[in-house]
Amino acid sequence: MKDLREHTRELLEKGEIAAVIGYRQVSEMRTKPVIVTDPADAEHLVFNEYCLNNLAVYLTKARIKALCRTKDKTLKLAITAKPCDVHSIVALIQENQIHRKDIHIISFNCHGVVKDFGCEFNGDNLASKCITCETHKPLYFDKIFGEEKETPKASDQALARIQELESMTHKERFEFFKGEFDRCIKCYACRAVCPLCYCQRCITDKAIPRWIESSSHQRGNFSWNIVRAFHLSARCTGCGECERACPADIPLTLLNRRMAIEAKRSFSYVSGRSLETPTLVGSFNEKDSDELFM
């Protein structure tokens, strides 16, 4: 913790970075995102099992980008990112939203975070993405802190849920999702927290023509959730922020995870893992399966 604070203070003092996007502790088992621009504020920065937010979402915000632009040069932006958040950053770099040279990634050896604020850190309360996590060390970073620790063991209930759904009939699944989507109030919190939902104008806000039925009746909720999941397929890095933010507790990661499984199964692709691999969307292989086509 001391290292992290010293490191960022030094960077801010030297004037190499415009700001640090980080976490600050607000109570014992709760943190919140903070943007530090004053070196003196670096002492608030923390990193622990309660740093739930994926801060990559802030990298594309216009107001934060504006902090970096000065008359004569562009300053870097520092971000504290869990190894899984680095996947989002990789995806953002691949999608040209930020340039690698413009950011300073401070990452950590991570052994998981809790599923929600206020929970004790143990196997029962592990966030579901941490259960299957294979990157306890960040794939890309400029500075790394923290020691390697064992992740508590837990069972992959999300996958079990997907398998359970897949064994149902279409009708049953349709009814299941109808029930889940029924609670959607179109607040778009899922969109707001998603690092990859950086569009200046979301497709759902496009009114002429009306792409997605904007009222929150059943069919409108279907179209929004289908399109959201589709737009994130092969892009979503699985941070799970959408589901955490959803006030109606819609299991959005089920859809995201199912699409990620498809990307892995049919194209051996996992999003946000490598800056060198071309993105799955936007590339093709002549030998891709032709099974779908008559």
Partner: protein
């Protein structure tokens, strides 16, 4: 609606160069196929947005067919390769959400495959008939939702009047 009389409504999004031309050939060769399918011509199968399919379902389509040039035969070299990846995901997604795979079908039909075009349309029509009306989707909202601000429900009803004229 009388189940006996129910005829499926099918939309085909087809590329200008291969499938549309293949359909022209089916016509020139006087091949017969059911009249349930209406075609929307686009330049390339790569330009078909999955939302089009949802919109078609909203407007009462019981099934959708997407068709373009065979791989390596694309007028634009690679449009269909991109389309193939896109549809793979969208199809899996619809399936997972509970929409039968048969509602959305895909084919490659070249400009010279008039016979194949007729066969595919017949097959899709048969499949959709077997699946029955797609009321699951349509019934979720009984209200008319306009695509454009000036569009009204009455505009849409005009077709029923035409039926009477015919």
């Amino acid at each position: 609606m009388d189940k006996q009389k129910w005829e499926p409504k099918i939309v085909a999004f087809v590329c200008n160069w291969c499938t549309y031309t293949g359909a022209d050939l089916a016509g020139t060769s006087r091949m017969k196929y059911p009249a349930n399918t209406k075609m929307i011509r686009v330049m390339c199968s790569g330009s078909i947005d999955p939302v089009f399919i949802l919109k078609a379902f909203e407007r009462g389509a019981d099934g959708v067919l997407i068709s373009g040039c065979h791989p390596n035969d694309c007028h634009y070299n690679a449009g269909n390769f991109h389309a193939r990846r896109r549809w793979d995901f969208f199809h899996e997604l619809l399936d997972f959400i509970g929409i039968e795979k048969g509602r959305l079908q895909f084919s490659w039909i070249s400009a010279s495959e008039g016979k194949k075009f007729a066969d595919v349309i017949s097959k899709v029509t048969k499949d959709i008939k077997a699946l029955g009306p797609f009321t699951d989707y349509q019934k979720m909202n009984s209200e008319f939702t306009a695509f454009f601000p000036e569009e009204t429900a009455e505009d849409h009803e005009v077709l029923n009047k035409v039926e009477e004229i015919v």
